[in-house]
Assembly symmetry: C2
Homo-oligomer: 204 residues x 2
């Protein structure tokens, strides 16, 4: 059986606690003690893995971004629907995750973007990089949707990807404040209609 | 001459410092001392106006929301273009403000939504209220745009307003991280195309 090594397992446990706590309380609102308590590791052990709270936050962002990215890509790849329909269904799978376990209802990226997005060079860089990577992925999805004729092609796929990413972040923020997944449902349905090719604006 | 009273003037000065500091450093990252230093008022004077830092943040949000709302509405009312074009131009006027004075490039609402949007009932309430008010305004704009035939009418104006608001917040967050107003330009141009009535998708 291919188990993760103990060290790697501990590291992931701390990163996962970081995702949940930063998402809930923000960066400055989360103390090191809370992180250690949440994952039951001693302070010394934390500093074996991460050199500072700032470096930890950078790695939490990279870890979270990779997880979400893989989930998004595999959900679309596994779908047998057309590309635009697959994207809509992928959003509903995220909604289902959030409703099953509200702790995963994660607005980590927009939360840290707002709070520390321009605080230091390393924050700015990791956040820019994470956004760019996600927008690259979504751009590929829209390129495929346009090539297969299921999305409008009067706007470049990059432009659609940025629009989709921006809307997603705004919707995640509304989910947090409204304590509801309705904003993500709005996103799924509105995008589906707006992105239809001309003449199919009813989504059929 | 109709000058604001001295008290009101001081109160506004403190609120304005709050907008700038919370926007830059977040809620937890801004100390009371920084606020007092920025607006040169003594601590006792601060507590004459606001009972706590939390109450202050609530009033900062209400103050900022009202300012932005009035600016948006008057810019659209003053325009002689059709409604959709007026909305596009209003976004460019915000961009111009931000480029003239980068301190006003304000992502206060998405910043505080992410950091403290679900922290306490009073935060949640003021943020929900601010968002609702802005979405109400934008809904009216889209209703007018649909009635005058310059926007697509296959989606309810409320749905368009939520989409527009979400995109705007995401774009403001990218502006912060990218230190550029390009994301707002993307917003203006993408929306303008996506919201054209069918058959006018070239934006002409």
């Amino acid at each position: 059986m291919n188990r993760p090594k103990r060290n790697e397992h501990n590291r992931e446990k701390i990163l996962q606690a970081g995702v949940e706590l930063f998402n809930k309380n923000g960066y400055h609102g989360t103390g090191l003690k809370q992180i250690l308590d949440a994952c039951q590791v001693p302070k010394g052990s934390f500093y074996n893995y991460f050199e500072s709270k700032e470096q930890f936050a950078v790695e939490v962002l990279a870890y979270h971004h990779q997880q979400e990215d893989e989930k998004w890509a595999s959900r679309i790849d596994e779908s047998e629907e057309n590309q635009l329909e697959a994207m809509r269904k992928a959003i509903y799978l995220f909604i289902k995750d959030y409703e099953t376990d509200p702790e995963t209802a994660c607005s980590l990226i927009p939360t840290l973007m707002g709070e520390i997005g321009n605080a230091t060079d390393s924050f700015r860089e990791i956040i820019r990089y994470s956004c760019e990577q996600i927008i690259d992925c979504i751009e590929e999805d829209f390129e495929k949707a346009q090539k297969t004729g299921c999305a409008r092609n009067d706007l470049p796929p990059r432009q659609l990807a940025k629009m989709f990413w921006d809307m997603w972040q705004g919707a995640l923020l509304r989910c947090k404040v409204e304590a509801s997944t309705q904003p993500l449902r709005d996103l799924a349905e509105t995008c589906y209609i707006l992105l239809q090719p001309p003449g199919r604006a009813d989504g059929k």
